[in-house]
């Protein structure tokens, strides 16, 4: 568990829905993460250039820059292969999930999610 460590891990939540970001933040903070938020891929990329997160919870369909495009660009950044990226999307087609994994996602959450699912996927991704 990350909880109660002196140096909490940083998780960036990237989603154009403020409600989803709020729910995810609450779950992640309960799990002991420090949480940052971005509303689209471009904003998330700017965040990552400032402070590379340990984990990224990433929506697929977003304005400006979608999740897949963000992931491709992130992996080109210095240190950009380090974060564990967990897609978090309403897309539940197995071909889309396969595509996300092939592009370098560590895990995949199908919305809607709850705390158990987020904890399970973070553990599978090796950040919890």
């Amino acid at each position: 568990m990350v909880k109660d460590t002196a140096d909490p891990k940083l998780c960036l939540v990237v989603d154009d829905s403020r409600v989803v970001r709020k729910v995810a933040r609450r779950i992640l903070e309960d799990l002991g993460f420090e949480v940052a938020e971005a509303g689209d891929g471009a904003e998330a990329l700017a965040w990552a250039r400032t402070a590379m997160p340990d984990a990224i919870l990433l929506d697929w369909n977003m304005p400006v820059m979608n999740g897949l495009e963000f992931l491709r660009r992130l992996r080109q950044e210095p240190g950009g292969t380090d974060p564990r990226v967990i897609f978090c999307s309403v897309e539940n087609d197995l071909d889309r999930i396969r595509e996300a994994l092939d592009e370098g996602a560590s895990e995949y959450i199908m919305k809607p999610f709850d705390g158990d699912i987020v904890a399970s996927k973070l553990a599978l991704a090796g950040v919890l």
Binding site: N92, L94, I97, L101, Y108, S120, K121, L124
Partner: protein, 270 residues
């Protein structure tokens, strides 16, 4: 439900399956028995329990007991255990049994997640040179039916199952996911009450029965553990939850929850 109904159900579960049910937990009994009562056409759980008591029909009795049996499960609970089975225990057993058959049994498989986790892990990395037979059982007939179908909701496939295993072993349905026939066909199913004589099942090299012992009354727990121990082939392993104990058996250093018969442990050490 009346307090008398709850006490009756608790006694029934103890007598028939050795299960401990707290009659004070009214919400739990209502939640578990409500769907059964509706399915059987009763207007309330109280009416259902009256029928169970008055009619003395085995089908109704077991509908009540099965509903109260433990149902909590997930894919790859404590994934370390599956790694230890596939990477360490099976290769050891396979060396001893070269050319033969290894029999594995998930003794309380619930809706199938435990045994399918084992089957998926075996499908990915089975030891060479042996034939594997995988068996699964549960007390509850309805859970066995669901398990055999291999269909899981979006919520269920996200508890413990990695996305890589999801895309490798499942196909998408309109509402949920179905496990591939390749994995489903690895498993043979049977309804088993673990407090009864299990000798008809034969012997097994690995028996998985994790996180179940806490649901048994103390004397039933000892009986179930002894029953499971007797099903172990020489050199076989009983795998309990990592916090569970089998006091009459030998634990395995570095493998919490793994137990062997004392005679097997002595022979291995000699």
């Amino acid at each position: 439900m009346t307090p008398q109904d709850r006490t009756f159900v608790a006694r029934l579960c103890a007598d028939r399956a050795g299960l401990t049910v707290d009659p004070e937990k009214a919400y739990l009994l209502e939640n578990r028995l409500g769907p059964v009562a509706r399915r059987e056409g009763f207007a309330s759980v109280h009416e259902f329990i009256c029928a169970v008591r008055d009619r003395d029909e085995e089908r109704l009795i077991w509908a009540a007991v099965e509903a109260m049996s433990p149902a909590e499960t997930a894919f790859f609970r404590e994934p370390r255990v599956f790694d230890q089975i596939v990477d360490e225990v099976l290769p050891e057993l396979a060396m001893r049994r070269a050319g033969g058959t290894l029999r594995l049994w998930a003794a309380a498989c619930g809706t199938g997640q435990e045994v399918y986790s084992l089957a998926m892990a075996l499908e990915e990395a089975a030891p060479a040179g042996v034939t594997l037979e995988v068996f699964a059982s549960d007390l509850c007939e309805r859970r066995l039916e669901k398990a055999q179908a291999g269909i899981y909701s979006q919520f269920e496939v996200q508890r413990g199952l990695s996305a890589r295993r999801l895309v490798r072993h499942f196909e998408g349905l309109e509402d949920g996911f179905v496990l591939s026939p390749r994995v489903r066909q690895m498993v043979r199913w049977r309804r088993v009450n673990l407090i009864e004589d299990l000798s008809r099942l034969g012997q097994f090299d690995i028996v998985l029965c994790r996180n179940l012992m806490g649901y048994f009354l103390e004397d039933a727990r000892a009986r179930v553990t002894a029953n499971l121990e007797r099903t172990l082939a020489p050199g076989g392993w009983l795998v309990l939850g990592s916090g569970e104990q089998a006091p009459a058996m030998a634990g395995a250093p570095g493998r919490p929850g793994f137990f062997s018969r004392v005679a097997s442990a002595r022979a291995a050490a000699a």
